[in-house]
């Protein structure tokens, strides 16, 4: 049971993440440790595919907590994110009360707006006590929703409570572990960020990316994995509209192993470039000669390192 308790230092946070094959750097572990210890939400920003959402999933599995996910989208409102009344059941309850000759309007109203008729959505669920410990609440891609929705979150993130006008305030006895992610397609308001610990997840360096790759794609050959990482790292230095993320590196590595490739050659790279680059402009920019030049550079670099 000891492994299910919160980590007691930055080092043990790193170990905890590594146990679930999440190779984090020390800065991320520091922020995560602080967030857990201080009971503060964690606000993670970064390019797509660098493992922001994964943090919450890994936390939930390693700590043995329930993961509650709120995927944000434009038009997300209270009834989908916080709570809703079960109108059908309420109607029936009113009819029944009438049939029984219950004439006291205040009484009906009190009965109808009670806990029994409340449908709990992710945010409210996250505040409920859980036998396994407070759940992990993942508010994913908050930049996809509009500014109006951020206001709903302020109360939840600051005090871990939600006010339902008809019922009163619901407050969590033990605050959930909150992870908020954003792709930065718009700036999130300072009022919300102020309540959180902020971290920017960047692209990993070659050494860490290699570790991630070996942890996530176990069957990969040593030489191929080195080449893949070196090529992706070189690609990120190019002037691209969207640089490949870690997720793309992993996809590409699994694609290459599926194709039984043992070492990179220009033709294979050109054929599978669509796994790494998702914009047509970027793919056309990287024509055959460019791929070959990059690959030669990568090979000579690796040879020098040996």
């Amino acid at each position: 049971m000891t492994d299910k308790t919160l980590p007691s230092s930055i080092d043990s946070t790193l170990d905890l993440l590594a146990k679930a094959d999440y190779i984090a750097d020390r800065s991320l572990a520091t922020v995560l440790y602080l967030a857990l210890r201080m009971g503060r939400p964690m606000f993670v920003e970064g390019e797509a595919g660098v493992g922001k959402t994964e943090i919450a999933k890994v936390l939930a599995t390693t700590l043995g907590r329930r993961l509650i996910r709120l995927q944000c989208y434009e038009g997300l409102d209270v009834s989908a994110a916080v709570y809703e009344w079960n109108y059908g059941a309420q109607m029936i309850a009113i009819r029944l009360a009438e049939a029984e000759g219950e004439g006291d309007r205040a009484r009906i109203e009190h009965d109808v707006f009670s806990d029994r008729f409340l449908i709990k959505r992710p945010l409210l669920q996250a505040l409920e006590p859980d036998p396994a410990g407070p759940p992990v609440l993942l508010i994913d891609e908050i930049d996809r929703t509009d500014e109006a929705f951020e206001a709903f979150l302020l109360e939840v993130l600051a005090d871990f409570q939600i006010t339902v006008p008809e019922l009163g305030t619901v407050k969590a006895a033990h605050p959930p572990i909150v992870v908020v992610t954003s792709n930065r397609t718009r700036e999130v308001h300072d009022a919300l960020k102020r309540r959180c610990l902020y971290h920017w997840v960047g692209y990993p360096n070659a050494e860490r990316e290699l570790k991630i790759l070996r942890a996530k794609v176990p069957g990969i050959a040593k030489k191929l994995s080195e080449q893949v990482v070196a090529f992706v790292q070189a690609l990120r230095k190019e002037d691209l509209f969207k640089s490949p993320g870690v997720a793309e590196t992993l996809d590409w590595a699994s694609a290459l192993t599926e194709l039984d490739v043992v070492a990179l050659d220009p033709a294979t790279v050109s054929d599978t470039l669509g796994v790494l680059l998702k914009y047509q402009d970027d793919i056309t920019r990287l024509d055959g000669t460019k791929v070959k030049a990059l690959l030669d550079e990568v090979r000579s670099e690796l040879r020098a390192a040996e």
């Binding site: 230092s9 930055i10 020390r26 800065s27 520091t30 922020v31 440790y33 602080l34 967030a35 210890r37 201080m38 503060r40 606000f43 920003e45 434009e74 038009g75 409102d77 009834s79 009344w85 109108y87 309420q90 109607m91 009113i94 009819r95 009360a97 009438e98 004439g103 309007r105 009906i108 109203e109 109808v112 509009d146 109006a148 930065r184 397609t185 718009r186 700036e187 300072d190 960020k193 102020r194 610990l197 902020y198 971290h199 920017w200 509209f241 402009d281």
Partner: protein
Amino acid sequence: MAASEGRLAENILYFARALRAAGIPVGPGAVLDALEALSVAHVGTRDDFYWTLHAVFVKRHEHTGLFDQAFRIFFRKRGYIEKMIASMLPETMPGEHKAPPPGAQRIQEALFSGLNEREQAKSDVEIDARLTVSDQELLRKKDFAQMTAAEIAAAKDAIARLALPLDEVRTRRLAPSRHGHLIDIRRTLRASMKAGGAVIDLKYLGPRVKEPPIVALLDISGSMSEYTRLFLHFLHAVTDARKRVTTFLFGTRLTNVTRAVRQRDPDEALAACSTNVADWSGGTRIASSLRAFNKQWARRVLTQGAVVLLITDGLERDADDTLAFEIDRLHRSCRRLIWLNPLLRFHAFEARAKGVQTMLPHVDELRPIHNLESMAELVRALSGAPAKGYDPKQMLKNVA
């Protein structure tokens, strides 16, 4: 122990102050958070100390660089703090002569209006013709704050005209509506409760409408210098009236001045803009500026149906394929691209310049903007459907 703790708190307080001076918004709450974080983190190494403070003080990715610099200098030697602030702030240049405070010229004019009456009349005439003032400054760094009273009057006029119904887009968010198409069960139930559940009075929901964001890209190169000041005033007025306006200036590089323009007082806003920008009245590199915008900002500010105002004369020095490519990408990533070109004031204007020809096929609308009349027209255009007569294709046909 208590004494050393006191020293730490003091140091953090000074550090927070240094960050604030360097431009990172750090509230008093963050200082308390920092102390709490340090006490729970059991900081051992310098790196842990760094990331602990980083987690609390930095709330935006752009500020990481500033924080890094501040941290290095501050925790090396305390005496360097003034030097650090001086090196990070563009506006405090040691040894520079003191610029007259914003609005000084206005006060002067107010005091000596009798003496200057004739001159003022002259500048009034000029405003009718070109919407610019006589004080042409050839300094590279222009002091915008020195406005003439006549110009202010003109700008105020423009602001008054801005009070028009503005453009609206439907959002996916719902709001109570009389003519909506969805039944609002919550309100319906509440309403029927009043009658004890006997009568069901249906209430409806409809889509909520919202003003789309505006993104302005303003050319501040030499060929535009007569107009930039008033355009900035115009953008300030628009920013005042609408919430979501993002303003960029470009000459040879792109600068985001949204925060500066948001200041209440137009004088202060313009002064803040001029301190932020390094390339006043230089050359134009439209293609590379658009490229910088597309790459760094487009995905962040062009969401939710943004309208882009591109204010430039289109006189690109080296018009090549990249310009066409970048303007096309810009066009594809926004809802409506309006090109405002002051050169259109000449009736004989023809799209002969290569840059203009390259950009024309990719804009939704081409409009003049050289006097208050055209500004007012633009505001009307922003509040409705694209107007006829500003079709860029027509302009291309005329040339052909």
